[in-house]
């Protein structure tokens, strides 16, 4: 009888290992999503035009060092988020549940008024210079934080657009340079998160998107940075 119980226990363990391994290979979640397409679990579109003063109330502020001033401002009929960092680092964070395998897109507009004062402007792998006037995160949280992944779209001081490197903090955070250097006016961006993920990590996403975030920081370089964000939108293309 005892042997039978031990055999049952071993059987359950082996079954769990097989299911877990098979899930890593075949991605049951994706198969289940195809068979039973989610209706309300996943947001299809979320758009932030920051058209009124309370637009940022939907977002939570994550403070690392000091507080970056994020305010909704209007000028010439156009409203946007104005971020000013003075030796500070804090981000605006929005939790959203999205299936990364369904090719969600992230689009936004941004404009940089002042860059952080980096010692080596094109060095993306230094913690001492890990400040960007503007960056947007797409975060893929895991049960254990060390397995979480993130895509980080940055407006760098002087790095080549299209460059993809690992963050100096973790290989699970990939920095993607979208814009670089001073530019006049607003720049519009649209990114296929799935494609960027595959290009950056070399494999398809195993985790769902759990949050998006935008940030302006200048704490590492103890300098100032100023940026404008607008029309942050996450959507699936038909």
């Amino acid at each position: 009888m005892n042997r039978l119980r031990i055999k049952i226990l071993i059987g359950i363990l082996v079954l769990l290992i097989i299911v877990f391994s098979a899930d890593r290979i075949f991605n049951f979640y994706k198969i289940a999503s195809c068979l039973f397409p989610p209706k309300e679990t996943f947001a299809t579109v979320k758009s932030f035009s920051f058209s009124d003063k309370n637009s940022l109330k939907e977002w939570s502020e994550k403070i690392l060092k000091g507080r970056v001033s994020y305010t909704v401002e209007s000028q010439l009929g156009e409203s946007y988020v104005h971020a000013v960092s003075d030796n500070a680092c804090s981000a605006m964070y929005y939790q959203i549940r999205l299936d990364a395998n369904r090719h969600p897109f992230l689009s936004w507009r941004w404009r940089v008024a002042a860059f952080p004062n980096k010692t080596c402007p094109d060095n993306l792998s230094s913690k001492a210079d890990d400040d960007y006037a503007a960056r947007l995160y797409v975060i893929f949280p895991a049960i254990f934080f060390a397995n979480s992944k993130a895509l980080e779209y940055v407006w760098a001081n002087d790095a080549k657009p299209g460059t993809v490197v690992s963050s100096p903090y973790s290989p699970n955070i990939k920095v993607i340079v979208v814009e670089s250097g001073q530019k006049e006016g607003w720049e519009e961006e649209e990114r296929d998160i799935y494609k960027d993920y595959v290009a950056a990590f070399g494999s398809r996403p195993m985790l769902a998107i759990g949050a998006i975030s935008f940030m302006c920081d200048s704490d590492s370089t103890k300098s100032k940075a100023e940026t404008f964000f607008d029309d942050v939108k996450i959507f699936y293309k038909k």
């Binding site: 939570s60 994550k62 690392l64 680092c89 981000a91 964070y93 890990d130 995160y137 975060i139 949280p141 049960i143 254990f144 934080f145 060390a146 979480s148 993130a150 980080e152 963050s167 903090y169 973790s170 699970n172 955070i173 949050a211 975030s213 940030m215």
Partner: protein, 138 residues
């Protein structure tokens, strides 16, 4: 005279196995869930991916070192509790079995079973003694 082997017979070993499993499995399950839940919530609270890595990694290292030291100690304590409890459960049964064996093999119908003070088996032992009384009278 009592002997002081850790596990003295099959019944005690059986109880010990059940007790240790029922102590260790829930401990591991609850501990594991708490471990992951706490770090998940902390990571969600911190939010910024770089900050999560920078702030939580040293904490995880310290917690892991603490767990590496404390888990063997905890297991030793749980196994000791298991041995103590299994002895408390199996001891009276074993004693009763020995005494009954003595009565049956030695045909000592005048002998009566004895129990220790506060023994949970006392009602059963009393019944067996009454039975022995009746057998002896016949």
């Amino acid at each position: 005279m009592r002997n002081f082997f850790l596990v003295r017979n099959r019944l005690e070993l059986h109880y010990l196995r059940l007790l240790v499993l029922s102590l260790i499995l829930p401990t591991l399950l609850v501990g594991g869930c708490l471990y992951y839940l706490i770090f998940y919530l902390l990571a969600e609270q911190i939010g910024i991916p770089e900050a999560v890595v920078e702030q939580l990694s040293p904490v995880v290292q310290k917690v892991n070192i603490f767990l590496m030291v404390s888990i063997p100690i905890l297991f030793l304590i749980l196994i000791s509790i298991g041995i103590f409890l299994s002895r408390r459960l199996a001891g009276p049964i074993e004693r009763l079995e020995n005494e009954l064996d003595g009565i049956v093999t030695g045909n000592l119908m005048s002998r009566r079973l004895k129990v220790r003070k506060g023994d949970e088996l006392k009602p059963m032992v009393d019944s067996v003694n009454i039975l022995l009384d009746k057998i002896e009278k016949k």
